[in-house]
């Protein structure tokens, strides 16, 4: 199979943009990505998005965004896999090129969350869970993750303060990222004293609600060099799903879809976890950051908080984790997040990420929908 490359990226800052809708946010990111390829035409648009239907009353998103981003009357459609929509969109765009159907595809991600109060946004987000047996009872996404956090802390005997190292590092990293939503540092004490959302998850354990859009341009080996001087190879890509009803899973402290998708991506890229220089992993909540590090093979079960407290995974270490600040502090514009992560890793490998820079040739991006229900993992190479 011939290789597929990332030849252009574009991001908006993540935040609460009351003055911008889906179309304005996406047009901004798409324009930046197109600029990187000299405004050449793209042949198709795949958009990752979760809640345009529930929060913006907008379906048929592909057509709307292709039109408003000035992409012409090209094939365009939305891919939805909850918070993992971005990763799933990249997976789809990659497949369209791998199939030989197209040579240049734009993969976008956009989310507009700030249209309604939190209780309504939380309800829309909670639709990532099993509607008939989880959402039925009114459990929020934070609530589901809190069940896992308590189990993690109890099983591995990890204290509140030990868990707090994740948000502390993420906020530190995000403070240097111009695209990040939460550009301020926090202390362990502040994390422990922030309000409880769903015990034991506190506000500072949670990714914020924000709007944002990201765009990538994927190209076949045939045209990649014509469009970019610094194409980044998608060397491995894997995707897997798991039981949506979380209680049905045999092991609640491992996300099997992460393990399987990473295995697929590593095998395809012919690498091992130790080869990775920079990783953007999914950390919508503190506990997910730790579990993902363990499932991706970067760390042993239950030991990540301690290792991170000792300085592992901080800038300068290999791998450096979430130099963007992660979902926790860069922000989590849901369906766009997976596209942000891939774009950020591509920028790291190109050497032009505008925040904390990581030296290296191999990067990983991991996008999750639901509580590890749909996971896409990518390995990128310079």
């Amino acid at each position: 199979m011939s290789k597929i490359y990332i030849v252009g990226v574009g991001l908006t800052k993540i935040g609460r943009f009351f003055d911008k809708g889906l179309r304005e946010l996406f047009a901004e990111a798409a324009s930046k990505a197109l600029e990187e390829i000299g405004n050449e035409n793209v042949q198709a648009l795949i958009v990752g998005n979760m809640m345009s239907s529930s929060l913006s009353e907008q379906d048929n998103l592909g057509a709307l965004l292709a039109d408003h981003a000035g992409l012409g009357k090209i094939p365009a459609f939305k891919v939805e896999a909850a918070c993992g929509s971005g990763g799933a969109a990249v997976y789809t765009g990659y497949s369209l090129i791998a199939s030989g159907l197209f040579d240049v595809v734009m993969v976008g991600g956009v989310e507009k969350q700030t249209e309604y109060p939190t209780r309504i946004v939380s309800k829309a987000l909670a639709q990532a869970a099993d509607a008939e047996y989880e959402l039925f009872y009114g459990i929020s996404f934070t609530g589901l993750n809190a069940l896992i956090m308590r189990l993690y802390m109890d099983t591995y005997n990890v204290s509140r303060d030990e868990m707090s190292v994740w948000p502390v590092l993420m906020h530190k990293n995000a403070s240097k990222n111009p695209y990040a939503q939460l550009r301020f540092e926090v202390t362990k004490d502040q994390v422990a004293k922030s309000i409880v959302i769903a015990d034991p998850i506190r506000l500072l354990d949670s990714s914020p609600i924000g709007d944002g859009a990201a765009a990538l341009i994927l190209a076949s080996e045939k045209v990649a060099r014509k469009l970019s001087d610094t194409p980044i190879e998608v060397a491995g890509i894997g995707m897997a799903t798991d039981h949506i009803y979380v209680a049905y899973r045999e092991n609640l402290l491992s996300l099997e879809a992460t393990v399987l998708s990473a295995k697929g991506a590593y095998r395809m890229a012919k690498i091992e976890p130790k080869d990775i220089d920079v990783a953007e992993v999914h950390d919508a909540f503190t506990v997910l950051g730790f579990i993902n590090m363990e499932d991706l093979g970067f760390s042993e079960r239950g030991k990540t908080p301690k290792l991170m407290d000792e300085g592992r995974f901080w800038p300068g270490d290999k791998p450096t984790v979430n130099p963007s600040g992660g979902l926790k502090a860069r922000g989590h514009p849901v369906g766009a997040t997976g596209v942000y992560q891939v774009a950020e890793v591509a920028m790291q490998l190109r050497g032009d990420f505008p925040g904390i820079k990581v030296e290296g040739d191999v990067g990983l991006a991991q996008s999750i929908g639901g509580l590890g229900t749909t996971v896409t993992t990518l390995v990128l190479k310079r």
């Binding site: 009872y137 929020s140 609530g143 069940l147």
Partner: protein, 152 residues
């Protein structure tokens, strides 16, 4: 109308009675019920009511609630391991957050989950409450009244 009528009706037995599906070939119990066994791909499944008795495996106290749930806040959610070895997610009721712990023995009861405003359907389903071991003998009312009166 925010609560779908056909859906509430369709799911009655699994929500009121904790009805699970059981594989006729490998015997695996699935909750929520399935149409195909995920263990052996068998399509012939039968329905069986679960005991509703088990213990808390993990729990959370959710303060930030979804639209329609403010009056129930904080809601304690738990994954309960039933006697049959099946895990079920449901709220806990009739218990204070500080009295919940992993390993707490609980039993399923029918409760109101939420309602669709003042006009729509009321959604009923199971919640778990702490199991009580009662063993008191003797006259009921007479002593109780004396104590209650003293207390008032």
């Amino acid at each position: 109308m925010k609560i779908s009528v056909p859906r509430v009706w369709r799911e009655l037995k699994s929500h009121y009675l904790l009805e699970a599906s059981v594989c006729t070939k490998c015997g695996k119990i699935h909750y929520p019920p399935r149409t195909i066994c995920d263990n052996c791909k068998n399509h012939k499944l039968i329905r069986r009511k679960l005991s509703g008795e088990g213990e808390v495996l993990t729990y959370t106290v959710q303060y930030v609630v979804l639209e329609g749930y403010r009056e129930h806040a904080p809601i304690i959610f738990a994954i309960v391991k039933l006697k049959e070895g099946v895990n079920v997610l449901a709220p806990l009721t009739d218990v204070k957050p500080e009295n919940v712990r992993v390993g707490l023995k609980v039993t399923a009861v029918l409760r109101k989950i939420t309602e669709d405003g003042d006009l729509g359907l009321i959604k009923y389903g199971i919640k778990f409450k702490p199991m009580k071991e009662f063993r008191n003998e003797g006259n009921v009312a007479y002593e109780s009244e004396k104590r209650t009166r003293k207390n008032s």
